[in-house]
Assembly symmetry: C2
Homo-oligomer: 389 residues x 2
């Protein structure tokens, strides 16, 4: 059995960054920028007033000075003349500063009577002008790769980038296998349960930027599995769930091998999630996740999300965080253990029952506490690592 780290490396070797596509800016949030995006203009494109007031010459600014108001400049409407000695232009926030002026006295420091203003309060030395290009200049870039946040979207808009080059969403096909499974909404027989893994994994992968195809459940026959794998054609990653041990056979592996899969590995020294399988089928990555609901989800976080990130051109390290153990823990066995846990204010507590069938515990957890293989017993107060859920 290989280690978690070895498995992750092999899995990452099965996928590559995908090609890119242009999407409209309004749909680019959460997508991954694939090429540096450069500003097509300066912002502001002209020296602009940052306040409402009067634009005039700084040399003339002093208390009790009087000026004649010769015009008005508003956002979108420049004053086309020139401001000369003794003159001022009424100006509003965002308006281009008129020629000749290099200072804006804010309106609160001025008294106006008809066309005349007098500076009544000390206007200070701040000119209240934003120089052209103060925010950014033509050619200034947002660097790829980068998951586009709302702030980036606003900046791309200001840069006048109506379309954005992003990595294509990885297409992942999910196939649940098992005669015991019924889709939610179905009526299970007495020996059956509801298929839950595909729904949880779909939400997980789509939340991280993938597009997920939820394929029909494959029954425990060669024919049914072949049909399902056929429906996965054209996806970047095929994931089967369960079916590793049906009767005395590894059904998924048998069928995949028949179809020409080159196996990369089978079984990882991990808990939950030991019966993980991976390989390449028709040139595409294929992963066989264990069928226990919690094992499937944990493997989704620990193994599949890094693959998604790689396909999206992003860094692939699992981002561990650290917290202080609130309660002691017994020694760990020989497998790397991801324990469902609750972290609050930097303190983490593992749930008592870690049976890999308990989805209810997973839904209460907000962290997977990582125990290295053969980790000794740990006292409360020890620093430990976890993956946030």
């Amino acid at each position: 059995m290989i280690t978690v780290e070895e498995a992750r490396k092999l899995l990452l070797g099965l996928v590559s960054p995908l090609d890119s596509e242009d999407v409209p800016l309004a749909e680019a949030a959460g997508r991954v920028l694939a090429e540096d995006a450069a500003a097509t203009r300066d912002q502001p494109p002209f020296a602009a007033s940052s306040m409402d007031g009067y634009a005039l010459q700084s040399a003339e600014v002093e208390r009790h000075a009087m000026f004649k108001v010769i015009g008005e400049a508003a956002a979108g409407h420049r004053f086309t003349g020139t401001v000369r000695a003794g003159q001022a232009v009424r100006i509003f926030t965002g308006a281009p500063v008129p020629e000749g002026a290099n200072f804006v006295v804010i309106q609160e420091d001025v008294k106006r009577k008809g066309d005349l203003i007098t500076i009544t309060d000390d206007p200070g030395t701040k000119p209240n002008i934003r120089p052209a290009g103060a925010d950014f200049r033509v050619g200034q870039t947002i660097s790829a790769p980068r998951v586009l946040r709302p702030e980036d979207i606003a900046l791309l808009a200001a840069m006048n980038r109506p379309f954005v080059r992003v990595y294509r969403k990885p297409v992942i096909s999910l196939i649940s296998t098992g005669d015991e499974l019924v889709m939610p909404g179905g009526t299970p027989g007495p020996d059956q349960i509801i298929a839950s893994n595909t729904f949880g994994l779909k939400a997980l992968f789509e939340g991280k930027g993938a597009h997920v195809r939820l394929l029909p459940i494959a029954r425990d026959t060669h024919g049914s599995l072949r049909t399902a794998l056929g429906l996965a054609e054209g996806s970047d990653l095929v994931i089967t769930i369960g079916g590793a041990s049906v009767g005395d056979h590894d059904l998924v592996e048998d069928v995949a091998a028949d179809l020409g899969m080159e196996r990369s590995f089978y079984k990882v020294r991990m808990r939950p999630g030991k019966p993980l399988m991976a390989g390449r089928l028709n040139g595409r990555a294929m992963v066989g996740l264990p069928g226990n609901p919690v094992s499937a989800m944990v493997c989704g976080y620990i193994f599949v999300l890094p693959m998604v990130r790689r396909m999206l051109g992003l860094e692939t390290d699992v981002s561990f965080q650290h917290a202080t153990l609130a309660e002691s823990l017994p020694a760990n066995g020989p497998r790397e253990h991801y324990m469902r846990a609750m972290v609050e204010n930097g303190r983490i507590t593992a749930f008592g029952d870690q049976d890999s069938s308990l989805l209810s515990i997973l839904a209460q957890a907000n962290a997977l506490l990582m125990r290295p293989p053969n980790d000794p017993a740990l006292d409360a107060g020890t620093q430990v690592f976890y993956v946030p859920l």
Copy 2:
């Protein structure tokens, strides 16, 4: 001018939790559960084997004991007979444990010859059986309200809930105002800039569960603003951006007042974001955000997101986090100041230039460092609060 806290209270008073709707489970991730969702069945619905092995009677389990294999139980395919003394049933993970059996000896501890097995290794005392209902029982609930995570989706599937009752998405109409604005992709005149606020805010609000309508830019005329406000009909929240001070008039307020807006407040003791306006127009909440890009986004985080959360039935407190100041900060003025900052490993640094027009600084920031009004100068090492971006 009112305080940030007073403004937030008044804003929250303008909205209420919305009605709810049923959505298919596959589309429920990220939505907010509106009613407790109860399991429609026990999970597992029967005592199930947690391992591959042989089901038999625990009283007979001891090394060297021999059993006759009388049948097989696989996931989805129960063995219908009863296991009696001296008998065993081949069983696989997830299969119902047959009548009469109450222990599963794992296959690694057994030697099989034809129909006979011998226990060759100490099978321990763990029965390797998951009792019926161990994960959850009929009627056990996931409590509302709750933003549904992938783990919840998996659990809801297992509970056989094909549809989920969630809060309807708040519909927010965004109206940029200003003669100076051109949509991304347009060709701005010499006095014009690109509309960026609506795109950033759309991404922000949609990321938090709202549905955003991006309406045409309103020009600085009564007619244009009236048209845009008319297009906002039917939304739960109307947001205008800019236009608070055009020429010598508060254009948005003038038009909104003409249309019958009851004003709640105008101006908040905050930086950036002072010229915030709010009220009720035709029974709906209306917020006028300042036009400076950074001010609009910061007000989106500090004021609008809590309103979105209230409409979604969630808690509305702004969730401040704390970090250690990496560099000293000068005293703050009389307004609560939200400074663009960078937090890394618990240490936070405010950017030097906090001009509210600088989107490029906002896009580099990952936090808004909060300075209370009249906060004294702070030394490096001081604990401060921030809102993550």
